[in-house]
């Protein structure tokens, strides 16, 4: 079984090892904490973009409320992953908590796209191992990066731009998947407004509040427009 799982998760290995290493290097070169905190974060937080954002939040000594809001909102896309796996994880017993904990972008895409047999217990055990293998790759990457960043002396000035680059890439990916630029402009304009109106320490929360409000108004407008078109058909 482990050989099958390894083959299935090989593409994730190639993605997680370098990205985890990048996070570890970033962590060790930007912050004064011990290198092993990097794999510890991979073990208990286990979120790529979240951990990379955490480096800049740690560097800024961010307040815990801001950390909670920023992490929750950054990972808000996960809110919608579980929906397609509700039935699949049903009755998984003690494995279920870990299956849910380990539901990263990559694990989600693997679990929802792989072929399945009718044997549910067997499939859940396979899901469990896939999740564990993926996290192992991630934690090993974080540890390698942490050690590398601490041991190898090189001029790392500017390496924190990796965070910006990651968010740009994720924005493009979101745009490709959605085919609609409205949320992109709303997010960027909300950020601009927040940067004009509030000091740097609170810009993230202010921007998130603004863009959520914009999306709520957008929803109301859409709903009213829908009701109007339905009414005109009557």
């Amino acid at each position: 079984m482990n050989q099958t799982v390894f083959k299935l998760t090989l593409p994730i290995l190639f993605g997680y090892l370098p990205l985890g290493t990048a996070f570890g290097v970033l962590f060790a070169t930007q912050l004064d904490y011990a290198w092993w905190i990097a794999p510890l974060m991979g073990l208990v937080i286990y979120a790529g973009a979240g951990q990379i954002l955490a480096v800049s939040l740690l560097a800024a000594n961010a307040g815990l409320l801001e950390v909670a809001v920023a992490m929750f909102v950054l990972n808000a896309r996960h809110l919608f992953y579980g929906l397609s796996l509700l039935g699949q994880f049903q009755g998984a017993g003690w494995r279920k908590a870990y299956l849910i904990f380990g539901l990263t972008d990559e694990t989600y895409s693997l679990l929802t796209s792989r072929p399945r047999t009718g044997n549910k217990a067997n499939e859940q055990q396979l899901d469990f191992r896939i999740t564990a293998f993926n996290q192992l790759y991630w934690v090993v990457g974080c540890a390698l990066g942490g050690l590398l960043g601490e041991m190898v002396a090189f001029n790392s000035t500017g390496i924190e731009f990796a965070l910006v680059a990651l968010f740009i890439v994720l924005t493009i990916e979101q745009f490709k998947a959605l085919g609609d630029s409205f949320p992109i402009w709303s997010g960027a304009l909300a950020a601009g407004l927040a940067m004009l109106l509030v000091p740097p320490a609170h810009q993230l929360i202010a921007g998130i509040a603004i863009v959520t409000l914009v999306l709520l108004l957008h929803y109301r407008h859409h709903r009213n427009a829908l009701i109007k078109t339905e009414a005109s058909h009557d």
Partner: protein, 110 residues
């Protein structure tokens, strides 16, 4: 708060907030998440948040006092977009933008 307490609390809060985003659909049942408002937010919020984060951190990593204001971050950001649209390889896009930004910062010619 000491450094050790802060990092411990920081990791605990981050872990809980991340787990919360993954566990919510399993706790609140299917029928709640079928609500059109939830579906609307599910469709648009992730993209909006990514664009917001990209903008905030792009602005804060730029040197607006340089002779070419903001050139360091804006050129590196543009390179990320170009490489990503061309090859669609996330690691390649991130690496090229970061290397360009580091080169500009470290050469000090700006």
């Amino acid at each position: 708060m000491t450094d050790v307490n802060y990092i411990a609390a920081f990791i605990a809060v981050s872990a809980l907030a991340t787990f919360a985003t993954r566990v919510v659909p399993f706790v609140f049942f299917h029928r709640h998440t079928e609500h059109p408002l939830i579906r609307h937010l599910g469709r648009y919020l992730p993209a909006a948040v990514m664009a917001l984060l990209a903008t905030v951190f792009l602005q804060s990593s730029a040197n607006w006092q340089a002779s070419l204001p903001g050139f360091d971050a804006l050129s590196a950001g543009a390179l990320v977009v170009a490489i990503h649209l061309w090859r669609g390889n996330a690691l390649l896009s991130i690496a090229s933008g970061t290397i360009l930004y580091m080169a500009i910062q470290q050469s000090g010619w700006l």
